[in-house]
Structure formats: C-alpha cells, structure tokens
Symmetry: C2
Subunit: 278 residues, 2 copies
C-alpha cells in the first residue's frame, strides 16, 4: 500500500478507484483511463503528493486523448454558464483581464448622447481610452449571432462616442462584440466594415474565444464536472469563474469567499488540478 | 314573413337567428344583440337589402356597445396576424398606402454601405426620397419593443444613407419603426433623439397604430370572426388584408383571387359589411 500526501498534509492510502473516477469525469474513455491508472501506479512512492499524481495522470491522458478530453467539452462548458447572460459577461470580463491585462468592469450604466446604456463589459485601454464590449450569450447551439446584434452594438458605440463629446461619459474608442456561438456572414461583413471587433466560437482565427482560452488555459469553472448550478452561483458571486483562480487559492480561502462545503470545494479543486497541471 | 334582397339579387326570408348570430360574433352581449334584433324587425319591409339590415343593426350596436364591439378586439386582431411577422409587414404596407397615399413595397433586399439589408417596408415620399420602415411584430402581449430594436433600426438607416452616397441604393431620408405592442421608455427617448418615427400600440398620441386604423376604418381582416388561419393565408397572398378591401370587391373577384369557397367568402363579407357599414 502506497501512502499519498494530500494538500492538507495528511497521508492517505492511494485510491485507484478515485483516480479512475476523476479520469472518467474528465471525459477520458474507459480504455485510456485504465491505461493511465496502470502507468501512474508504476510511478508511485510513499509520500507522493496528490498534485504529482494528477500531473502525471493528466500528462498521459493528454498524450492519449488530448482533444477528446478538453476541447470537446469547452463549447458545452460555455453553454453551462447560462441560462442567463450574466455569468458569461463576468467570464468575458475575467478573460479580457487575463489575456490583455485590461482593467475591466461589468454591467455599468453609462450615459450616451440619447439614452443611458447598460454596458456589459468596459475595458480600460492605454491612456484614457476605453473599449465597449457587448456580450451576447446564447444558451443553445446552432443559434448564430446575427446582423441585428452587431448593428445595435454599433449604434450603442456611436451614442457613447457622441456622449463623450458632450462630456457625459468616458472616451470609448473601440468596440467589441463577444458571443459563445458563431457569427452570421452578414454580421462578420458589417463588423469588418464598421471596425467592430468580433470574438466568438472559432472566430476570428488566432483570436477566437477558443484561442483566448487556450492561450493561458482560461477555462470556465463550468468545464469541471463537480461544478453544479448551485456551486456555479456561489463561485460567480465570489468572482471565481476561471479554473485557474481555484488553483491559486487555498481551499480555506475559497470556502470563506463562497460559503461552499469543504468536501465540495476539495472535489472541485482536485478536478481543477487534474485539468491544469498537465 | 318579410323577404330580404341579397347581394346576388335573390330574395330570401328574413332570418332572425342569422342576424343574432352575426351580432354575437361581433362581440355584442346577448342582451344588446336581442335588443338590436327587435329594433331591426320594426324597420323591415319586403325587398329590404341585406346591406340595409346590417347597416341598421350596426348603427344600433354602436350606440349600445361601441367600445366593447370593436376596440376591445383590435389588439387581439393584430396579434392574430401572426405567428410570424410577414402578414404584419404586409398589413403595415397597406395601412401606410391608405393613410398617407405612399407607394409601398415589402421585403426588398437593398444594398447599404456595408451589407445588403432586407427592408420590411419601403415608402416612396415626395420627389425621389424614401422612408425605411422596420416592422417588429410580437405575437404575445406584454412584450415591449425596446432600445435594441430602435438602435439596430437606426444603424440600418445609417448604412442605407451611406449606401446612397455610394450610389448603391435609393435615397432614404426618413426612418420609422412600426410595432403592434408598446415601446419601452428608453426606446422612445432614443427614437426621439435620433429622429426615428415610432408607430405602435397607443403611441404616439394622434398617430398611433390605433389612430391610423380608426382614421379610415383600416381594420385587419383578422378582426372578423369568420377569418381563420387558412383564409388569412389566402387573403394575405391575394393582398387582401384590410376589411375594406373585402367590401370593395365582388364575391366573385375575391373568389378568383383567393380560391376560397363561395360560402366562406359570403360569411366573411357579411361580417365585413356588418363592421364597416355603421
């Protein structure tokens, strides 16, 4: 029997079934999960940490079923941020903060020339310039973000630009529309013509939502099987929507910020480590 | 027994039950319907026309239950133009043609600066100027037409104005958003600030959808109880969406344009006369 050192420093017998289960949860096939467990068992020694075990397991998993494991699930993980658009807005805000180093704010009321707008995400750029980000979350597949959405985003941008000239608001110099689905061809043509930045599913190449997420492993917590709608709400309210946030904090801190049970937090963190330490 | 002259010139015995039924269909209460029948009977003479009978009946009905009869039902009649927005677009086109004497066209693809737009209704104004009409049909009550709809309407207008400068399209100098429901306060504020004409349920005062309809009795055919979804489709395809159109044509003409059965057409026309000859 091999003893494993847990995060809490406690020693515990290595549990083959537990590892197996977490691999299956991460979308591994049965065949590959078995293979991973066998290979991990070869590397065990007394006092090995859970983190080392998961690192090793995920390294093997990635070699065997890299795409199947994560990418297949990412699209669904984004849908699971619903059913409303709030968590998607928060998630986009976190993503932009991590990828571009912007200071971001969510859901601000800002006075334009004609009316006050609820802006989903504001990014502070260099100097005193700002980017307006409109978020369009769809909670089922196959719904394209279309021309009308890009058009009202542009109209909002214009109203805020004119609002700035009247000293009603910040100086918005850029505009972006972020969605979790695809864009229609007309939406793309209009956005390109008007200088509106689009970020969506697999679009545009090199800076799509997928690319941004991959860049620094910015997976949403909904990619974790142990995050249900109850814990999602708690995590979102605590501004913990990225899997990497969960790794950087101690279970105690997560507990005090979310009020979730320790047992649930440990299961979530374990899965998070499994995903990222690869 | 009194003999009544029908539209076809045939003579027929006066049928008290038939008159009663048509009154109830027109939303009269039982008490008032009975009263109307009694009063009509006092005015009968051999050779009286069906039209005279209905004129008299409706005159009395209006005195007794004016609001109940028509206005209560108009809102629902507009909803019955659904479930999609096509018939509402056609209806708005007919309405603008009748009220303002505009030449109108529906659902035209028009090239703007950035993309090609499907314009719901185009109205030819004086000279070579045109008005763009965006139609927003809601098929259930309580849904307001909001800011985003007015904003994309404005963005579309801008794109067509710039398209005209590039000689891609007609010279659109006015823009209107027509809906069968109410507008949100922000939608109204934005539209007023941007010079967008709004026409909706009870808005704006004096030129609301209700006012336009009342002006020349431009009721949609869906206000008639005898128009079901099958006959609506036939009438719409024949461009017969106004009750008044039905009165101006002979049953034979309606039949050749719609392919509806004579029996159904006569019932529809009878009700139409009941509604308008008051």
């Amino acid at each position: 029997m091999v003893l494993v050192r847990k995060k809490s420093s406690k020693l515990e017998a290595f549990d083959e079934g537990k590892l197996m289960k977490s691999l299956l949860r991460a979308n591994a096939s049965k065949r590959v999960a078995k293979l991973v467990v066998e290979k991990v068992k070869e590397k065990l020694y007394d006092g090995i940490s859970t983190e080392e075990i998961y690192k090793e397991a995920f390294r093997i998993l990635r070699e065997e079923e890299k795409h199947a494991a994560i990418k297949y699930d990412l699209k669904r993980a984004l849908f699971r941020l619903g059913p409303t658009g709030f968590y998607f807005e928060n998630y986009i805000s976190e993503l932009f903060r991590e990828v571009y180093n912007y200071e971001t704010k969510v859901r601000r009321l800002i006075r334009g020339k004609c009316v006050e707008h609820e802006v989903d995400v504001i990014c502070k750029l260099d100097g005193d310039e700002y980017m307006l980000v409109e978020c369009k979350y769809h909670n089922s597949q196959g719904i394209y973000t279309g021309l009308k959405t890009v058009m009202y985003t542009f109209a909002r941008f214009l109203d805020l630009r004119e609002g700035h000239k009247l000293k009603f608001c910040e100086n918005f110099t850029e505009v972006c529309l972020a969605t979790n689905t695809k864009f229609s061809d007309k939406a793309k043509a209009y956005a390109s013509c008007r200088g509106i930045k689009l970020i969506g599913w697999k679009y545009p190449k090199g800076e799509s939502l997928n690319n941004l997420i991959d860049k620094k492993c910015l997976y949403p917590v909904t990619i974790l099987r142990n995050v249900d709608s109850f814990s999602l709400e708690r995590l979102a309210n605590a501004n913990l929507l990225l899997v990497k946030d969960l790794i950087e904090l101690s279970a105690k801190e997560i507990r005090s910020r979310t009020g979730l049970r320790e047992k649930d937090i440990l299961a979530i963190v374990e899965e998070a480590e499994m995903l990222l330490h690869s």
